[in-house]
Amino acid sequence: MGDLPAQSTNRKRRGWSLDSPYAFILPALVLFGMFSLYPILRSLYLSFFDYDFLRPEQMHWVGWGNYQEILRDERVTNWPGLVTPKAILPLRSLASYALGLYALVALTYLFTRRAGRAFAIALAAVVCAFLSLFCYRLLGHAAVAASLLDALRLAIWPITYPIAALWLTINSAGGAFWNTVRFTVMYVPLAIGLPLLVAVMVDKAGRLSTLFRTLNFIPVVVSVAVISIIWMWIYHPEYGVANTLLRQAGVKETYNWLSDPKLAMPGIVAMCVWHGLGFNMLLFLVGLQRISPELHEAALVDGATGWQAFRGITLPLLKPTIFLVGLLAMIGALKVFGQMFIMTGGGPGDSTLSMVLYLYNIAFRYGKFRFGYASALAWALAAFIFIVSVIAFRLSKERE
């Protein structure tokens, strides 16, 4: 009996047998190679041809021609210039001042790592600006500092200007590439911040935490198509929930959420944040559960406030999860398609035209079946996603 197992495992099988690892892996390999690997490589091959699917006989090699066309194609590469500063002068709201001051403090803190010093520098900057403007006024430049508020505004101008200009720029439409980027820039911070907040709360909810996790997760299992249709009804200018709620809150204006070039993209972003909340929250919850509660408790016993414990312990330990959620959100956002296809068709104008939507249209919609150019668009997008992911990886490694 003793040498039987050795014999059976050492039994050399020559030639083909159905009872071998190769036979087990073959079906997967065939399916995967045919329907996953081949189409991807075929797209790469086609991207170097001028090729209309309906006229295969005219197919011919163009080298990098399709990729060069992408760079020339205004519907892809059109890029809005930085929005003029005039646009922010009317923004006399307190919120923009607060934002500017906050940014000044945050920047100072970032460079000095001292909260107290940051506040002192910010305060000094404001006081200096105000004093100098006051002096100007004594010298006759009355118009410059008409009020304390104006002085303050001018003092924080270097900060408010870039922020407001950036926001306005992000919010203005361009070509498909720019629209995809601005969708991503708007979506990713919200897709990290809000789920993290909810996850921290759900994590603290004790016995009810499973319940809240489940409830918030429900939208994730519903398809993009159904979600988009429901939100089209929510955004409906007349019967929609959004405008009805605003009307009840006393807002007189009627917003055309999806047919206003300024609102369409933020509207879609809001829907996507809502749709992805549960999934990102789940990832954060998994990350939070890996952190041992003793660490947190020890900090609290040592007299740290809840916020300090969160900043000092939870957040640093959660960094890998934050990176993962951010990366997944970014890759998903750069590939966005269904939401735009269903809700706006890329409109109004081209303001919500995304890269994948454009390549779909090029391949199947615009009367021609320009498979070569569409493939080049797809591969260019894939290359962009790859490069951005690699940069993100590098940055996250350097931080540690």
């Binding site: 079906p27 399916l31 991807i40 709360m201 779909y360 569409a374 797809a378």
Partner: protein, 285 residues
């Protein structure tokens, strides 16, 4: 006294936390509830100037209307069920078989295979859209259930293999050795040891595959959009919305309700597996 004050503070804190979480959960759920309730409203209430949340009167009229007049809906439903179930069965079988080989055998080309699977997972699926269309068209598989099932199977294969490989590696080697001594072929030990022991892993992977096949949009739109015969639910519902939005919202509400409710119920029943599969999928992908 200090103790009770502390207690009161803690209790109000917890209460506040629950309140905020309840509001957030409500925001997550209200759109669905609104659709369900609206599908039960009579026609004139849906089109009245004052939007209501709770219906004043309930009716099933929208549903009977929908089943009578939306001819395509039943077909889309059938197609989605067939394609999703087919994809799950095929992916789990083929994928777990390959995972078994990768987890339990050392053979030539193992590393290369692993790298190919991993590398392809890095490439966004949309990149293959054009090539896939050409491929299916040349095999006359466009607008067929088979074509989309094979496509989805190939998409989900790599992930399933990774999940199942991790499950199979944790099965103790002694069990397999003992089976081998008893004269089991590798194939028999796959059926009789690996599958039963990996059942919960299979369920997790299966729910993930089902969800991705049931909800997939761009490939279904591209490959199966010529006729009702092979159209899936996400593409169909989007088409119906375009056709019916100017005629009857009630009918649309009921059709949308029927397309999300089964998935939500399925999720609530198989929650454990959903969560496991999704987190595994996210970390790997």
């Amino acid at each position: 006294m200090a103790l009770t004050a502390d207690k009161v503070k803690r209790h109000t804190g917890t209460g506040l936390l629950y309140l905020v979480l309840a509001v957030i959960s409500a925001i997550s759920l209200l759109p669905f509830l609104w659709v369900i309730l609206s599908s039960l409203k009579p026609h004139d209430e849906l089109y009245s100037k004052h939007l209501t949340f709770l219906p004043h009167s309930y009716t099933l009229n929208n549903y009977t209307q929908m089943l009578e007049r939306m001819v395509g809906f039943g077909l889309y439903y059938r197609n989605s069920v067939l394609i999703s179930v087919g994809t799950v069965v095929l992916t789990l079988f083929v994928g777990s078989l390959a995972a078994y080989a990768l987890a339990r055998f050392r053979f030539r080309g193992e590393q290369a295979l692993f790298l190919i699977f991993l590398g392809t997972m890095m490439v966004p699926g949309e990149v293959g859209l054009i090539g896939q269309y050409e491929l299916l068209s040349s095999y006359k598989l466009l607008n067929t259930l088979t074509g989309l099932t094979l496509t989805y199977t190939a998409f989900n294969l790599a992930l399933t293999i990774f999940v199942m490989r991790a499950v199979f590696i944790s099965v103790p080697q002694e069990l397999l050795d003992a089976a081998r001594v008893d004269g089991c072929s590798w194939w028999e030990s796959y059926w009789q040891i690996m599958i039963p022991l990996g059942a919960s892993g299979l369920a997790a992977a299966g729910t993930l595959v089902f969800l991705s096949a049931w909800n997939e949009f761009i490939f279904a739109l591209t490959m199966n959009n010529w006729s009702d015969e092979a159209r899936t639910l996400p593409v169909g519902i989007q088409l119906l919305q375009g056709q019916w939005q100017h005629w009857d919202y009630g009918v649309l509400f009921s059709s949308v309700m029927l397309s999300f409710l089964p998935v939500i119920i399925l999720f609530l029943c198989l929650q454990k597996y959903f969560m496991r599969g999704l987190t595994a999928g996210a970390v790997k992908g």
